[in-house]
Symmetry: C2
Subunit: 227 residues, 2 copies
DNA sequence: CGCCACGTTGAGAGTACTCAATTGCAGTGG
DNA sequence: CCACTGCAATTGAGTACTCTCAACGTGGCG
């Protein structure tokens, strides 16, 4: 309960995929290097432009990585949750953060210093490979976003968002854990445009809005064809 | 001259950063695994949707990675040149390519099979780290593109493009190696809009268009402020 | 039950797109 | 050397989309 992750028997890192290759012994060693931090829902974990020389691993809760313009418009890069990490550039260099991070729920996370990370990778090179796997997937997702933003209309991106959420959740009953504003900021549009598009999809009979936090998907095909 | 890279004394891989950590002996071993291929300017090296289980390392020339809609609009993800690689997802899985690759010049490249790559990483784990370094940088660039596409006007993206090209080339005299169409497809707009914005910048006295392939930058500040 | 944040709808404006016409440039052959 | 040809780039006109700003609903929580 002191500097570990709040579990009794096992450190949180037992459950993080990128550390899955470590032995029990190595995990215990790693545990000693971690610093655990707590953030309340809505608080900012780090600010774009700050210097950072550590990796952050989320133990509990959800965060958004985003950037903001002077006039307050926001683009979300990704939503991360338990066992995800960010700040990976600081493995190699003191990173000037290119995004801010906000806690969407209460969050518990731990940080690992650059030099500890180096040591860790040296003793267990497979970690680099595990991180690499995550990074290639992330790059692919990022390029998917670039394709959508560059080539598709806000309407198509809205459909794409629904399809993606469906795939993550499985089933026809989407439960939204984000506000309209955040959803809009993921697909690079405004909450008004998103709202209008959802209404249009409803008018077309493709979806059914059930309260503000639920969407029932009625026609997967139509949405997929739109994308 | 058989299955190596055309050099007499040293294989091409001597010059590729991600293999910089290999010993002379290991490089010679690697050389035997490579398959070298040539592509003429304008030819397609691989198609989006194809399965691929190899990494491609560019030895000579330049390529563009892009995706295309049914109606022919195109989004370019990145331009790669000598010593760059692509297809890194196939380190982990047989990859359904999420982009097409076209040779912008005559291109010589070599391919490395997934299983050979595994072997290579096992004998020299630092390679995974070198690739990881490249991938984190690439992800950062990708997120920069997402920010620009999501938050900035075509005009601002045009300014951003000029600033970036300046940084790459150094100096006030930009020499464009891409068509207006390709440049537009990098920043997610049309050639017409790009052309109009360049003309506007010229009218404002920020740049001077000199033929179709050269741009003289007159006011770096103004461009940077626009971004 | 009423408040307040969140979400939706409406009107109007601006940006960027499409399609079409014109201009500019470079390579080729007379 | 110059005119011609074909492609690339620019310019123009009209349209469509999406944004902004504002008003109005709604639903969850005290």
């Amino acid at each position: 309960m002191d500097n570990n992750c709040g579990h009794k028997d096992k450190a949180c890192v037992f459950h993080v995929p990128i550390f899955a290759g470590l032995s029990e012994h190595e995990l215990l060693g790693l545990e000693a290097l971690l610093i655990t931090e707590m953030y309340a829902k809505g608080s900012i974990i780090c600010y774009e432009g700050e210097d950072s020389d550590q990796i952050y691993v989320i133990q509990q809760g959800r965060v958004k990585l985003f950037t903001m313009t002077e006039d307050g418009r926001e683009q979300i890069f990704r939503i991360l949750e338990e066992t995800d990490f960010f700040g990976e550039l600081s493995i190699f260099q003191t990173e000037k953060l290119s995004f801010s991070v906000e806690a969407l729920t209460d969050v518990r996370l731990c940080t690992i210093k650059q030099k500890d990370m180096h040591q860790l990778i040296k003793t267990q090179p497979s970690i680099a490979l595990d991180i690499l796997r995550t990074m290639t997937n992330r790059l692919q997702r990022a390029e998917g976003m670039i394709r959508d933003l560059g080539l598709r209309s806000a309407e198509a991106r809205t459909a794409s968002l629904l399809v993606n959420l469906c795939q993550e959740q499985g089933g026809d009953e989407l439960v939204l854990s984000l506000s309209r504003r955040d959803l809009a900021n993921i697909i690079g549009t405004t909450q008004e445009t998103l709202s209008r598009n959802l209404s249009r999809f409803q008018d077309l009979g493709w979806i059914k809005l059930e309260g503000h936090r639920k969407i029932r998907i009625l026609d997967h095909e139509a949405l997929r064809d739109m994308v």
